[in-house]
Symmetry: C2
Subunit: 245 residues, 2 copies
DNA sequence: AGCTTTCAAACACTGGATTTGTTCGTTAGC
DNA sequence: GCTAACGAACAAATCCAGTGTTTGAAAGCT
């Protein structure tokens, strides 16, 4: 585990911690801890005060992208591989933001597809591909996440029709449907779903027991859910194809 | 001069060259030359064949972005600094693609502005800024250049009104007006100009004697031209403010 | 087929950039 | 005013991209 994540979690669990505590916890020097705190503060993870830092992570919000990105990569990659397998050459695909979908993007680099990613991270992962047609939606990138949102994004989605939407999310259950942390994100996901004939949700198992603030869509709008462990949670009963990677 | 550029020019001038020739020309090993040829082939600069490579650069087309980017950086930076100085805090700016405008983007990173860059390179340069409002236009990124083009880009521009447009180009003269190498690019530039109240052209002096294929706009649509050396070329007479950086 | 040339994968090396640690003068808070 | 924390500046360590070398495979020629 990276030192940054270690610090983030220690501070979150304790509420606030001193520089010296973090130094002895991680084995790094105090100067290094200060520099780490600076970058974490810039990411909005925590707030510095003289002598230490206090966490800014609410229970309802998700940790910033940079910290999630190399979390559970094995599961993400397995899910991504399964999702990539569901896409046929020549298809047009809208690809949601988030770390799991970024993993999908990486696998699509040499495929023959038309892809419109909803996050700049995925755009960057794909921009050097010569085999696929890359479409960039307009929008305002949310800091860190670099997920595109806002009216420009919605307008881009509304003007296009895709064969498949690959959507990630923060919570998914038969009763609560698909939910996301961010309201803006939720409306983008909704527009992506509306613009596609087929909808695939790429969701690691931990999300199947969770519900986030913003409602996106009922499970009935999904055609398939790709997940990493067995944890159906009533999705099959709700008429969704569940693929376990 | 970088070895890549050296190879590009040698192959262009000779039509085609052998690996051994290029190795002795550059002083690098043959393996390194092969690796270089691989990246240049990926950029579409040349085509490999057993034993060497042949050029794919036409006279009318411009060398790829990666080769132009650290060309004449001093002049570009001076021009960029002058352009940045013409922008006032709070303004909304649409920023064209190209290496000179990328230099401008770098200078805007910590300013308080609303910026919509027309190239993904500039988007990436700005996406970590917390002080400015970044807008991404939709579109298809042209390979290498990563300039956004196409109907999505035009639609994004048409739906917005900017205070200032900063435009780069391949040719500019009082008689021929502003010209670009790429037709798609030209229509994007035109839309950018139409969406802004004030138009600044950022152009190094070598462009002032050149004309490219695609007509963009007459000099009368420009409010100011920022260039690096004295070389008015009748622009002042045509009613344009010429700023020499 | 047999020979020669070219190619590229694998490994080692190198120089530059990034990260980390240390020192020390400055600053914030008591 | 005093003390602890801070951060700038420099030094050390570490990492990484680019390069060269070797070597076995592949391509082209006779």
């Amino acid at each position: 585990m990276s030192r940054l994540k270690q610090i983030t979690e220690a501070v979150r669990d304790a509420g606030s911690l001193g520089v010296a505590d973090l130094a002895s916890l991680t084995g790094a020097s105090e100067m290094t801890i200060r520099r780490d705190l600076e970058v974490l503060a810039a990411q909005g993870v925590l707030e510095r005060f003289r002598g230490g830092a206090r966490s800014l992570l609410l229970r309802g919000s998700e940790p910033p992208f940079a910290l999630r990105s190399d979390d559970n990569t094995a599961a993400k990659r397995r899910i991504a591989t399964a999702v990539a397998g569901l896409l046929a050459d020549g298809e047009s695909v809208v690809l949601d933001s988030g770390t799991t979908c970024l993993e999908v993007a990486r696998l699509l680099h040499d495929r023959r597809l038309t892809v419109m990613p909803l996050s700049l991270h995925a755009v960057n992962a794909l921009s050097s591909s010569s085999s696929l047609t890359l479409l960039v939606p307009g929008g305002r990138p949310r800091p860190g996440e670099l997920a595109l949102t806002g009216p420009l994004t919605l307008a881009s989605l509304e003007s296009l029709r895709f064969d498949t939407a690959v959507i990630g999310c923060c919570g998914l259950s038969a009763e609560q449907g698909m939910t996301a942390f961010d309201l803006e994100d939720a409306s983008v996901k909704r527009a992506a779903i509306a613009s596609a004939r087929r909808v695939i949700a790429a969701v690691d198992a931990s999300k199947l027991t969770r519900t986030a603030l913003a409602f996106v869509a009922p499970v009935s709008s999904l055609d398939a859910v790709v997940t990493d462990a067995d944890g159906d949670e009533g999705l099959t009963a709700a008429g969704v194809t569940v693929v376990t990677a």
